[in-house]
Amino acid sequence: MSRIGIPLFCLVFLALLIAPAAPAGMSSDDDARILLSEGILSYLSGGVRAPSLSDLHDAAVHYPRYPRRVTDTAGTGFTFYRPIERVVVMHANAAESIVALGGDDRIVGVGATINTNTLQFPEISRLPGVGRWTEPDIEAILALDPDLILTYVSWPEPEKLERHLPSRIPVVRMEYYKAEVFRDEMVTTGRIFDEEENLDEYLAWYDANLDLVEGRVSTIPYEERVRVYAESGSGQSFGRRAYSEGTGLHDLLIAAGGVNVAEGHVTGYADVENEWVMHQNPDVILIWSGKAGYKLDERAEIVDLYKEIVSTPGFERIQAVRDNRVYIVTSGYAFGTGSPAALIRVASWLYPDLFTDVDPDEIHAEYLERFTRTGREIRESGTFYFPDGRGNE
């Protein structure tokens, strides 16, 4: 037989062997067998996107749970024929999720926001930088010879990334901060990194906390629900910026059982007048900030946000301010892998009587302990929400 003939014979044999094992209700191993047979048939028929012989060989001989197929949030499907060993991560939300699933030992390069976030990512922040998530450094990426790149759905644009990369490097696009796709993205990440066991552990924690809140707030009649005004706070140049449908902050307060006073008035986020907030007279004001969280030196900015809103003229007559129910959550807390802890915190702010037996701080501490690599410094000094009883209120 010729040099090509032997592998071809083996592949045909394997395809015939594997193909019948494809009943409904399959395990991931069954999936792998089907994908392998499809790959072999595609190779034999000379398909344009057919896998290489070495891909099929590795999957068939060395990695029995491969190939595996995933679809990212952008809707692109990927088939992996061997475990992913070298990953470039462009943004911190993705890095946080990979760390939570224990896949960070396969990260070889990181975006600038991860490099600078040394307290949240004490280990991977030291890895080689690959530019910003808006402006990737293609040469730095190629020098790391990655198996895969993880980035946001829309950034960097394909013209800045995929266009300059060889087709063998897949670019997986996922957000990791949007509640509606977050769980699916974690499942996809678990499959990419072959960390299903850790994924199950994380999802058990995630689902338990979400179920806890849903179980307690879902029966509250609409007219008895707490009315919340959500905004991003008045920074150095912002006016009042209300958040409504289509934003993570809205999803958070709705999941916590609140009613957003901006719903139906504002789509996404928009600037509103102080007088409109006074007219709405919300029970609770919930502010989101991108500052602080894992950045210990930014607590003062959170305190300033709080002071600004409670001292705004006329706001002293708003119910939320009168009742001291103005709260701030940071993005490092409210969105992404740690969001169930923030959800319980917000739900307990809205309905303290329903959550007297739950300690949100304990749940957050558990998250930090089990699913991050952060140290004691973060646990003791991180400002993830405000007021947190540590002064400046």
Partner: protein
């Protein structure tokens, strides 16, 4: 044509211009009255005027809304529009160039850089809550001084000042872009919002500051109106008629820069007024700076207050940035005048 008919024609034109300015001013008063009743808190018209007449007591929502939010915002719109329009008219007159404005000469770019420096790095010359305002003000003056210094090297002419201004504009724009590049997404967001411009941050303190600035510089600019008219004939002609060209140019630029700095450090870069308000006034009132300067101040106030009033009510409770609304409102009007005026207005 006899001497008396020429004099009669001139008197008629003068009379017409004065009437137009008075009408514009009355229109501004009317718009002010309407703007006070607009807002997302439902307050009746009579209730608004009753609250204004009763004075500020701060004990009710309505009093707070009218006195703390609506009136400062309206007055800032009037003053900022007047100041930016006046600054643009002075610059166009001094440089004899229809494209001259605080923005095309780099002054607004410098303010944006100063604000960006405060937002991204927290660095500046004034500590505490005034950091951003202080930075924007200071860098505006730095840009004006740089334009003057560069132009001085080659002689203070309109061409050298425009060239220097454009160079400064690109330099500060590049530095602002660099700060946006190194800033986090929240910082970039804040910079972009600042550059849209807003009257929403107006307080009685900021209104008073701008009022003092306009109160001092508007009469001074009117005093230079005759010199600016002479300057329109060219540097040589103006010099031969005894006009101190360089002195007028430096003084006028300093005044215009100060007006711009004093406004945009509080409002952000509202970029359109300084360019278009003078053109609208010129098309309506002609090129005589004795009428053009006060007319531009009123037109600038009208455009800015009108744009802000529409911006905060058209999609209530959402507010559209005033910098965007001024262009939406002013450009169609400008194009209408541009296409319908028969004579060459510039």
């Amino acid at each position: 044509m006899s001497d008396s008919s020429i004099r009669g024609g001139y008197a008629r034109r003068t009379y017409t211009r004065i009437i137009i300015i008075i009408c514009l001013f009355l229109l501004l008063i009317l718009l002010t009255g309407v703007a006070a009743t607009l807002g997302s808190y439902p307050i009746g018209v009579m209730e608004v005027y009753g609250t204004i007449l009763a004075g500020h007591n701060g004990g009710s929502d309505i009093s707070t809304i009218v006195w703390n939010y609506r009136l400062p915002r309206i007055l800032m719109g009037i003053l900022a529009g007047a100041a930016l329009g006046l600054a643009g008219a002075m610059m166009q007159g001094i440089l004899r160039n229809p494209l001259a404005s605080p923005f095309t000469l780099g002054i607004a770019s410098a303010a944006s850089f100063g604000a960006s420096l405060a937002i991204v790095l927290g660095a500046g010359v004034v500590a505490g809550g005034s950091l951003l305002v202080g930075n924007a003000f200071l860098f505006t003056l730095v840009a004006a001084a740089a334009v003057y210094g560069l132009a001085q090297v080659r002689g203070i002419t309109s061409e050298t000042m425009i060239m220097a201004g454009i160079a400064i504009m690109y330099l500060f724009s590049a530095m602002t872009s660099f700060l946006q590049y190194i800033g986090d997404s929240e910082d970039v967001h804040a910079i972009v919002f600042w550059m849209f411009g807003s009257l929403g941050r107006s307080t009685w303190e900021t209104v008073m500051t701008v009022a003092i600035l306009v109160g001092v510089l508007l009469p001074l600019s009117l005093l230079s109106a005759r010199s600016l008219n002479t300057l329109a004939a060219g540097d040589e002609a103006a010099t031969s008629l005894g006009v101190p060209v360089e002195k007028i140019r430096i003084g006028g630029m300093a005044g215009a820069s100060l007006l711009t700095a004093g406004v945009i450090c509080f409002t952000g870069t509202i970029g359109f007024i300084g360019l278009v308000a003078p053109h609208i006034s010129r098309m309506v009132l002609g090129g005589d700076h004795r009428f053009l300067l006060p007319g531009t101040a009123v037109v600038g106030a009208l455009v800015l207050l009108g744009a802000d009033s529409i911006g905060r009510t058209i999609m209530t409770p959402q507010i559209l940035p005033v910098g965007i609304m001024t262009a939406f409102l002013g450009v169609p009007f400008f194009i209408f005048l541009f296409l319908t005026r028969r004579r060459n207005y510039w």
